[in-house]
């Protein structure tokens, strides 16, 4: 790979590769080129290879494509490209064919011969693999017609599922490294910062702190050596957008970090990410090597006097390391305990040198802002939260996946339109955002417009972007207990309120879900929450009580039912649940008696059965097996 040593050379390279990319041009994600392609492959098959899609068969689908194309003699006419996440995770493995932009879902290696012989060879779409609209039952051919993608706006995920992350050339073809070249040759550091400030790009890690302000403080901080850190320690359970970007479009982060380095006067960047993401780490390291070989990272980037190098540091499984000062300690090879502030990270960060620390998604937004301008960015989203946000939509929802939506969209639009509604036709109970630091939005509040400030105002938070949909079967006390259990495990133990207080809160929640809670317990929960919020050192501790506080606020009657009536309205807390056979409905088929693991159901054949409440372990196996809805959970 030859080095690119000037801005002109970079642009030449872009034109060269952009022609091939034109095949993947769609109205939603326009590829940037001026020339039409000819003489290159006639079709591109895009294949998601991120963690979810590759789980089932590994590289078997790809291998089958390659061998089938050869068998049909069209291997030169069709390119098969391994990409990052399409976001449509519930429907994996996803395969797209360009230029038609046809999406196939739930593809297995057994389907590949048909795709090759019908579609790739004879242009006949394989209808049985198309996405079927769950409401209208219509077959949908192209991705942009699928409801899940309508209403999405892709900025940070612009290249995910569109380019081969292993190819720096495809990234360059998509205007890649153009923003870096402009920031080196056409802009002063102050102009870069001013532009990021003007765009009001706020931290996508959850805090929402303006990135431009961080860059400015670090630029002003006194010191020869400065660092840029990318926070890729995505610890929020149920969120995977950072991994999707690091795996699906690693260069967008590398480029943005170099831009930040140029803006603040740093020559070194560190990406701190999770050891649990081996595929993303491998991809990142490969991308760094490519960028160095191309002369887009390392010494004298693009022939200028600006030098910037990036390395990857792995965490070792600690949620608290997502907190910026804990991350700094961990990146120094120490226990990931938070530091006192001040001094601010901008003044004394990594190795106590001035450091700008931003999240993966924040960085990914930077290159488009530099190219398209602050006004463009501000035209998307809300006034105080411009741009988009990525959410990992999961839980009791029809379409689980990764979505990028403009700020200001309502939760209702996300759940009903993009997510296709609540699973199994159940009733929506709440939507949880912000993970263990966030809170719940009750079903009657889902018309709220999502942005940093609106979510804060109702006691939830944006967080890194986990969005968990809960239905009528979910017990809110149990959900709060789940998060508290997480926090107790992950509290680093430095401050007493967090270390001891969260443990006490968990004990109370366990008592309540076991059926031994009292009304005084609810008061005690509130008292503990207040103390922990006010006296913990870091963000983890300060926000730890949020799931309890918000569920107490919006679902107090559910807590009351647990402590006063000793009932779990959702039927999720087994200690407070009992199973009963309705004699009128039971036909005596004996299926329940056979499935019961403790043999506590008795009765004659064709006679109503009875459950021995003393012996019942409340596993619920009988309910699931009864075809006559004769067993009730109470």
């Amino acid at each position: 790979m030859s080095k690119v040593t000037s801005q002109a050379q970079l642009r030449e390279l872009r034109e060269k590769y952009a022609a091939a990319m034109l095949l993947r041009d769609t109205p939603e994600i326009p590829v940037t080129s001026t020339e039409k392609s000819d003489g290159i492959a006639k079709k591109h098959v895009l294949l998601c290879t991120d963690t979810g899609c590759e789980a089932a068969e590994g590289s078997k689908i790809y291998d089958t494509f390659i061998s089938e194309l050869k068998a049909n003699g069209i291997e030169k006419e069709v390119n098969v490209i391994k990409t990052g996440c399409f976001g449509f995770c519930k429907q994996g493995t996803c395969v797209k064919v360009f230029p038609e932009d046809v999406s196939y879902v739930m593809v297995t290696s057994n389907d590949v011969p048909e795709i090759v012989s019908s579609h790739l060879k004879n242009d006949e779409h394989v209808e049985r693999l198309l996405f079927k609209d769950p409401i209208t039952n219509e077959l949908i051919h192209t991705q942009h017609e699928i409801p899940f993608y309508k209403g999405q706006v892709r900025i940070a995920l612009r290249n995910c599922g569109l380019i081969a992350p292993t190819s720096i050339d495809e990234y360059i073809a998509q205007d890649g490294y153009e923003a870096l070249s402009r920031s080196i040759f056409e802009m002063e550091p102050k102009e870069i910062i001013d532009k990021v400030k003007a765009a009001n790009l706020r931290g996508r890690g959850g805090g929402g702190f303006p990135a431009g302000d961080k860059w400015e403080s670090t630029a002003r901080a006194v010191g020869e050596k400065k660092y840029v850190i990318c926070n890729g320690d995505e610890g929020d359970p149920g969120a995977f957008m950072d991994r999707a970007i690091l795996y699906g479009d690693p260069h967008s982060v590398l480029e943005a970090m170099a831009i930040c380095g140029r803006a603040i006067g740093a020559d070194e960047g560190v990406i701190y990410t999770r050891a649990e993401y081996p595929k993303a780490v491998k991809m990142l390291n490969a991308a760094i090597k490519q960028a160095e070989e191309r002369g887009l990272l390392g010494d004298n980037i693009l022939g200028s006097d600006f030098s910037f190098k990036i390395s990857v540091t792995l965490g070792a499984g600690a949620f608290v390391c997502g907190e910026s000062t804990a991350l700094l300690n961990s990146a120094q090879g120490q226990r990931g305990e938070p530091r006192n502030k001040p001094p601010r990270t901008a003044d004394k960060g990594l190795w106590f040198k001035p450091t700008s620390l931003n999240n993966v998604e924040t960085f990914a937004c930077v290159p488009p802002i530099l190219i398209k301008g602050a006004d463009w960015f501000k035209s998307i989203g809300t006034e105080n939260s411009p741009g988009t946000k990525i959410f990992a939509l999961a839980g009791k929802i029809n379409t689980v996946g990764l979505i990028e939506v403009p700020m200001g969209i309502t939760i209702r639009e996300i759940v009903e339109n993009i997510g296709g509604g609540v699973k199994d036709g159940k009733k929506l109970k709440a939507v949880q955002t912000g993970g263990p630091s966030g809170g719940c939005i009750a079903a009657d509040g889902i018309d709220i417009e999502v942005d940093f400030d609106s979510l804060d105002a109702i006691g939830s938070m944006m967080g890194s972007g986990g969005m968990i949909v809960l239905d009528e079967d979910d017990c809110m006390v149990n959900v709060a207990k789940f998060y508290m259990d997480f926090i107790v495990e992950e509290s680093c133990g430095k401050c007493t309120p967090c270390r001891v207080g969260t443990k006490r809160m968990l004990e109370i929640l366990e008592r309540i879900t076991d059926g031994h809670g009292t009304e005084e317990d609810l008061v005690e929960l509130e008292n503990l929450s207040e103390v922990i919020q006010n006296t913990s050192l870091c963000g983890l501790g300060q926000s730890a009580p949020n799931p309890v506080v918000s569920t107490l606020k919006y679902f107090r009657d559910e807590y009351i039912a647990h402590v006063r009536d000793k009932k779990c309205p959702a039927g999720a807390c087994t200690n407070m649940t009992s199973f009963r056979i309705i004699a009128d409905k039971c036909i005596g088929c004996t299926v329940c008696a056979k499935v019961c693991p403790v043999s506590c159901i008795s009765g004659e054949l064709k006679q109503p059965h009875v459950i021995d409440q003393e012996k019942c372990v409340k596993c619920g196996a009988c309910v699931d097996k009864c075809k006559f809805a004769a067993i009730v959970r109470e």
Binding site: T51, G52, Y277, A316, G395, G435
Partner: protein
């Protein structure tokens, strides 16, 4: 993996080689976690001898190394089974019944989460989040992912890895 806590010299030598290689690239400051990752990859876990050895090489008190080892959930100070069964307990998996799946694995294997079977075949763990929420609930055995699993699948998955099974190494 060796069960003998007295590490064979080959493994310590491999760790030393890694440290030497890092030292050539620059300062060893801040490299402790990276070294521990490598050591665990080589030995399978981080027994006291290995921790003490690393402490000597980095000229730091063993207590400091131990402090780091015990801080992070990724590091283990006890030997783990040939197959590490991780059940994702991320929120998406949790609301779709991952706790019941974990319970079933626990029952089938006869061990609590965090423990290893006496024959050193299986270790059972709860994992935070793999980020494959579309496949919830899911289990990871070594590197292999099993998605959308039901209680009934648990036995089948374990069978795959039992003596004579077809589990991938």
């Amino acid at each position: 993996m060796t069960e003998n806590t007295c590490q064979d010299h080959g493994q310590l030598k491999e760790i030393d080689e890694f440290i030497d290689q890092l030292a050539k690239q620059g300062s060893l400051d801040g490299k402790l976690i990276a070294i521990l990752h490598k050591a665990q990859e080589i030995v399978g876990y981080l027994p006291d001898e290995v921790q003490a050895h690393i402490a000597r090489r980095l000229s730091m008190p063993p207590a400091k190394v131990n402090g780091v080892v015990t801080f992070y959930s990724y590091f283990s100070t006890v030997p783990r089974g040939k197959y590490v069964v991780n059940i994702c307990m991320g929120t998406a998996c949790f609301v779709l019944g991952a706790d019941k799946i974990l319970e079933e694995f626990s029952k089938q294997l006869g061990i609590e989460p965090g423990q290893t079977t006496p024959d050193h075949m299986f270790t059972l763990n709860a994992l935070r989040c793999v980020g494959a929420c579309g496949l919830a609930p899911l289990a990871v055995v070594n590197e292999k992912l099993y998605g959308k699993i039901t209680i009934d699948d648990v036995k089948k998955i374990i069978e795959e890895y039992k003596e004579g099974g077809v589990g991938n190494e």
